[in-house]
């Protein structure tokens, strides 16, 4: 049995003005291809970029009809194909995802991998156009789709609460934007303008292409060279992102909706982000507070007080946000808030046992090691490094966890500022 890899190691090169990153590994039965196009997160672009994800998925010059495009993917043994936008701090990433089975597991041999690159190239560089514009037909359908997607955010109450508190906390900052954009922008977008915007994006914004699978690097470089050929010009320098603001005053916000459970979010600014030396210590700090079932939030909100089924804290690593979250009976609001705030205070005061510190380091280490078994997560880890300008090896990150002391945790916890307490609750009167 091949020894498991210990490091996430992409081989990087420049091909056709794209940053190509290849990781050959035998462990997966498929090959994963991900293209990331980086854009600033801003009111001016957010809806257009989100709409591009929809429109580009519909058709290409070779497959002008969506059904034909879908049939082609089926014939590539159910190739997985998706385009989406993700938010990483104040960057909006347009992400093309493609995954095809490795030919060696199929009874008939078809050149799937080359066809996958050919297809990726077509989607990116030869979308379906009418008179140098995205077709009105697809554009209009996809505007509707995007509008529905924005409106359906409300279906998932946890995600809805998370977006609402983000809007409240970062009111005058780009980070407040929903990655799918704004409904009110849709009407003004037309096929010609959107295509011009896309050409600009494709020729000047940073583009990274990741490939993971049982592949040969030279072969992949050939495929990319032959099939993915955007016209690249002088790259733009995107404006700096993720400015850090001090909290002036802690705010409380309440929203009402037809719900039976209250969603309580407590949002904090960490003033530490992925690129900082203190980032691994912030991970440990978050782990102690609410990352795991041995963490303070789980033990005190759920196990001791029996107030909730879930009580966790999560980090947003690029902007530097720590979010505590729980689902509670609104009658217990005051009590839950006070227990949750108390846990953060305990961490700040360094009231952390050796056991808590050690368990957190052990579980964090495991969590990061598990990245090695997922193509998608290895890509994401590597991209976080590229995006933030601070590349870390996995082994470096693990070593940093191991070296984190109680003093380090206290130091980063001290920087954490409580910003907003948010409750999504029912429509009944008074708490």
């Amino acid at each position: 049995m091949a020894a498991p890899a210990k490091e996430i190691s992409f081989q990087s090169s420049q091909v056709n003005g794209l940053n190509l990153h290849i990781m050959p590994t035998e462990k997966f039965k498929t090959t994963t291809i991900v293209v990331m196009i980086e854009q600033e997160l801003s009111q001016a672009y957010v809806t257009k970029t989100a709409l591009l994800a929809h429109v580009l998925k519909r058709a290409t010059a070779r497959f002008p009809d969506t059904r034909k495009l879908s049939e082609h993917l089926d014939m590539l043994y159910g190739a997985i194909f998706d385009i989406d936008v993700v938010k990483k701090g104040e960057r909006q990433i347009l992400q093309v995802y493609l995954e095809v089975p490795n030919e060696k597991y199929l009874s008939d041999s078809v050149p799937l991998l080359e066809q996958a690159f050919q297809f990726a190239g077509e989607v990116l560089v030869h979308p379906y156009l009418e008179n140098h514009a995205f077709s009105e037909k697809y554009l209009n359908t996809e505007k509707e789709s995007l509008r529905k997607r924005i409106e359906s955010l409300i279906d998932d109450k946890m995600r809805y609460a998370n977006q609402r508190i983000t809007e409240e906390m970062f009111k005058d900052e780009p980070f407040s934007l929903l990655v799918y954009g704004r409904r009110e922008d849709l009407a003004a977008i037309d096929g010609a303008g959107l295509y011009r915007y896309y050409q600009e994006l494709l020729s000047r914004n940073p583009i990274d292409v990741f490939v993971v699978g049982d592949v040969e690097s030279a072969q992949i470089q050939e495929y990319v060279k032959a099939h993915v050929k955007p016209e690249r010009r002088q790259p733009v320098t995107l404006p700096p992102a993720n400015a850090q603001k001090d909290v002036q005053q802690v705010r409380e916000v309440v929203d009402r909706l037809d719900v039976s459970q209250g969603k309580l979010n407590i949002g904090c600014r960490t003033h530490v982000t992925y690129k900082d030396d203190d980032y691994p210590a912030l991970q440990v700090c978050n782990g102690i507070l609410g990352g795991f079932p041995h963490s303070k939030l789980f033990i005190n909100v759920r196990e001791k007080a029996s107030l909730a089924y879930y009580a966790v804290s999560r980090l947003e690593s690029h902007k530097g946000v720590l979010m505590m979250m729980s689902g509670i009976d609104v009658a217990n609001y005051e009590r839950a808030v006070s227990i949750m705030k108390e846990q953060l205070e305990q961490v700040k005061a360094g009231k952390i046992s050796d056991e808590e510190l050690n368990l957190t380091k052990a579980t964090l280490t495991n969590q990061f090691r598990e990245l090695l078994d997922s193509a998608r997560m290895m890509i994401d880890f590597t991209y976080n490094g590229l995006l933030s300008g601070r590349k870390r090896l996995l082994t470096e990150m693990l070593q940093a966890f191991a070296d984190t002391t109680l003093e380090d945790v206290k130091r980063v916890a001290d920087k954490i500022q409580l910003d907003t307490i948010y409750l999504l609750r029912d429509r009944k009167e008074s708490v």
Partner: protein, 431 residues
Amino acid sequence: MQTTTFQQVNETLYSEQLPNGLKVYLLPKMGFGKTYAVFTTRYGSIDSHFRISGGAEVHVPDGIAHFLEHKMFDKQDRDVFQDFSRNGASCNAFTTFNRTAYLFSCTDLVEENLNILLDFVQEPYFTEQSVEKEKGIIGQEIRMYDDNPDWKVYTSLLKAMYREHPVRIEIAGTVESIAKITKDTLYQCYETFYHPSNMILFVVGSFDPEAIMQAVRKNQAGKSFSSPAPKIERFFPQEPAALAQKQVENHLAVGLPKCMIGFKDAHVGLSGEALLRREMTTKLLLDILFGTSSALYQKLYEAGLITESFDYDYTCEQDYAYSLVGGDTPDPERLKEMIQQEISHYLQTGIAQDEFERSKRKKIGHFLRSLNSIEYIANQFTSYTFNGTDLFAVLPVLESITLQEVTERMGEHLRFDQMAVSIVRSAANRE
């Protein structure tokens, strides 16, 4: 220890049944760093009426299997979560209609973690006090699901399809039903369903199979269980072929209405290869009619009647089986109409050979892809084994299915008298 090699997918499975009846399966995965172990009892929410041969018939409160799952983590002298965390493992558990699973994943110390898993599931410790405390926690879990419109539309559809069978009852029960649970009822269920002969241990990932099998043998040899194993009789009410209700409607805060259509199989009772064959045949059928490459999908999408949430699936167990199709839609009535029209059309004209071949390719590719996920392998293998089927038979079965079988299945399964509809709307767009 038995060794079975599946050449086409390049996997080798090791298995053994221990003297106490426990079935153990080990699947080492080349190159993976992570190990995932799942210890499952064939006991789920539907098993609420039973008898141990020689004993009296017992009815237990709805939701008790899930409640028991929560309470297995309680110990007199230790915290199970901390035990796993100490070894860097993350553990969890879940309950479905027909099984309860306890699991961990880790990248180190597999043997130690396995012993923790086996020991905590095989040493119940329930007190009245901790049972009462859990009612608050699970109460919030139930509330969380109450606010989830996707869960609501699904569980309501099951209630519409099934008149008698307990699959119509929510897995976690209700706040009222769990109020009746006591430590004695928990012990009774535990003694009935947690005998090793009713359980499967599946370990997949990075380890030496001989060493791990030896560790499991040793752990089990050190414990005593009732012998012979209790013979469990499960009682299920006679479920008529007919539906309980044609249509149900609920109101929750949603962006767009949700509509899910179900087809209830009138004839059930299959097991082994026949069951697997029916599953794969039906899944192919659904993909041909409703997949993204189908004429219907494109028509519905163009008309704005569906979004990317549109999905379909077939579930088949030995005593209940149904298909689901649907998603978010502005007009549930029109969606239902168009789906019915399409089915009628296909029943008249039949399925084309190329449609069939394409879907088959897609399914084969998706199956290979699913083998990248060690979690999928472990859980799906266990579920199939309880039904007398075999995960690794999926590929050969898929490859051998004919168009004629799919066509016959279409006539048998997609019957309008077996079709139920569930809708969730906002109170605001209530008609």
